[in-house]
């Protein structure tokens, strides 16, 4: 009996030793979470924006704005101080400024006087000073008729480029047609003054503009609140200039990897928290890797319409150096990207990345591949309303002057659009891939 108990004990001991040794032999942890940041050039707007943001309103107080305050019918403009105050307060904390040649902060509820014609006393309009003063960490709103002294809008767009577009921030223009009765100054090449009366005819209403500058999400939030609280049905148009062209950002937060993937497997061993980046592993270094993804083109509200026949693609590869910097890799033009319309749905598109790992990927290193699909200058077009609201500068003769249009609007918007295209690189798709070959 005692012998059997001993044997039984030995057996159990051996069994548990077996489990213990087997357990020890296998690695305990699979994931090694580490912070991954995109290469600086590839980084897009931050995924997270603060819940509340200070809102600064810069109001053009030049005399040419007086005419918006005078008629009672169809007058959004007179409700604007309270409307902007309410929206600003609901988004964070609102601060009003007036500007002509200089920018001056307004205290208390002084901003409500913008409903009164007597407030508009400035003679020079310097929108560029308002842009200079604006804090890029705030949402800034410029109320203006888009007149700039000396017609120096290229100076304004340069400042917008340096301060906003180059830092993944956005600019939007809301155009609102409003009743108008008053003088319009410095029109055309001879800087003439015209009297204009729209009466209460909406077709003759004269546009004024809100230029919004700040994080894309906050601009869209502002536009939503604006649309929600805008009770007077005046014609209103929108233009959003931002690095993202689609409703849901077409990075790996939205992209769907479709059938036909070859030699690449999904991996999350790095525990990358940035959902715009996806980690993959390569199964066979000598075989081609193919990554097909599908995306739905749903234009973001207010963005420039795209000509989908004028899309371009770009691929860049980087490897992580020992000092933690992403260094560009010479891929010998290996990675190829193809864009094609999907047969699944009318607005569905396929993007397929193909590369030879041996040519594109650096062995024993962390690799980053960035693929973008973007419109070229011809494919990134201004919305039709801009042309409809535009009056070319050279055509302004007394008998041709039309106060329901904005002199040089097309030129100003083209300038803004070109600046956004050059600095923000608006893209339809941004695929950010990490391949850890260490």
């Amino acid at each position: 009996m005692e012998k059997h108990t001993k044997q039984c004990g030995r057996f159990l001991l051996a069994f548990f030793l077996c489990l213990f040794l087997g357990g020890c032999a296998l690695p305990w942890e699979n994931s090694q979470e580490m912070p991954i940041t995109m290469p600086t050039d590839m980084a897009r707007a931050e995924m997270e924006t603060p819940a509340a943001i200070p809102v600064d309103v810069y109001w053009d107080a030049t005399v040419s704005m007086q005419g918006y305050t005078t008629l009672a019918a169809g007058n959004v403009y007179r409700t604007l101080p309270d409307l902007l105050g309410d929206i600003g307060d609901s988004m964070g904390n609102v601060q009003f400024f007036r500007f002509g040649a200089e920018v001056m902060p307004l205290g208390g509820r002084e901003y409500r006087k913008f409903s009164d014609a007597s407030t508009y006393t400035e003679l020079i309009t310097a929108v560029h000073n308002a842009v200079d003063t604006a804090d890029p960490n705030h949402l800034s709103v410029i109320v203006t008729d888009l007149f700039e002294s000396d017609s120096d809008w290229s100076n304004v767009t340069k400042k917008l480029k340096d301060k906003y577009f180059a830092h993944h921030l956005s600019v939007a223009v809301i155009g609102i047609k409003n009743s108008f009765h008053g003088d319009i100054f410095d029109v055309g090449l001879n800087a003439q003054k015209y009297f204009y009366n729209s009466n209460d005819d909406p077709a003759r209403f004269r546009p004024f503009y809100l230029i919004l500058m700040g994080p894309e999400k906050k601009i869209l939030e502002f536009i939503d609140l604006w649309k929600e609280r805008q009770t007077i049905p005046n014609e209103t148009q929108y233009l959003l200039l931002t690095e993202n062209l689609t409703e849901g950002a077409n990075d790996f937060t939205q992209l769907v990897v479709s059938e036909g993937i070859q030699n690449l497997y999904s991996n999350e061993s790095l525990g990358i928290r940035d959902k715009r980046i996806k980690e993959f592993g390569i199964n066979d270094q000598s075989a081609p890797a193919v990554l097909p993804v599908r995306f739905d083109y749903q234009p973001l509200f207010g963005t420039c319409p795209l000509d989908m026949d004028h899309l371009k693609t770009a691929v860049q590869a980087f490897s992580l150096s020992e000092n933690g910097e992403w260094e560009p890799l010479d891929t010998n033009d290996d990675p190829k990207v193809e864009v094609s319309r999907s047969s699944d749905a009318p607005d569905s598109w396929n993007v397929t990345l193909t590369f030879q790992p041996e040519q594109t990927i650096k062995p024993d290193a962390m690799n980053f591949i960035h693929v973008s699909v973007f419109p070229d200058a011809k494919g990134y077009r201004l919305p039709d309303w801009v042309r409809a609201w535009n009056m070319p500068n050279v055509d302004v003769a007394p008998d041709q002057f039309d106060g329901s249009k904005t002199v040089n609007l097309l030129h100003v918007m083209e300038s803004l659009k070109s600046t956004a295209l050059a600095a923000s690189h608006p893209a339809l798709v941004n695929m950010n891939i990490i391949i850890d070959e260490r």
Binding site: R10, C18, G22, C24, E259, Y265, N267, S269, N283
Partner: protein
């Protein structure tokens, strides 16, 4: 080396062999897993974490069966007459059990766990490692002297290695 020391050494040998085979099963199986999950939304590290549990289970089963054969041969079976020598049916049954475990466990785990997508390469790997190397080849060299010719082919292999 006296009998007790040899017994302990052989038990430890079986355990060590099982542990080493489990390591091979984990790493080789992981490399198979990379191709198994291509085209699925399953992340490799997730698959690998679930696969590790399968390796634990199969390793424990394989180790237990190998050890069971050794312990039965060493302590459970007695040779009283010359007819008592040779328990190939028992050895073969345990080997068959091992084969079934190597094939059934992967599919049973995969059936219960959607993340553990299975391919035929994994059961084949387990058969090669646990059944062929762990049980069969292991038993050729780590079977107590009384039954050393019981495992299939033991006589020929021991002879070719110059052992009796």
């Amino acid at each position: 080396m006296n009998r007790s020391t040899r017994t302990i050494a052989q038990i430890l040998g079986i355990l060590l062999l099982t542990a080493v085979l489990s390591l091979f099963a984990y790493y080789i199986g992981s490399s198979f897993g990379k191709s198994i999950i291509i085209g699925t939304p399953i992340a490799f590290n997730d698959w690998q974490a679930h696969y590790k549990k399968l390796v634990y289970a199969t390793g424990a089963t394989g180790g237990t069966i190998s050890l069971l054969w050794y312990l039965l041969a060493r302590f459970g079976m007695k040779v009283h007459t010359s007819y008592d020598v040779g328990k190939r049916t028992l050895w073969g049954s345990l080997g068959g059990l091992m084969l079934i475990a190597c094939v059934a466990l992967p599919y049973a785990f995969a059936n219960a766990d959607a993340t553990l997508k299975m391919g035929a390469s994994i059961p084949l790997l387990f058969v090669a490692l646990y059944a062929v190397i762990g049980y069969w080849i292991g038993s050729l060299f780590m079977t107590p002297a009384a039954y050393k010719y019981t495992p299939l082919g033991a006589e020929k292999i021991r002879a070719s290695w110059g052992r009796k």
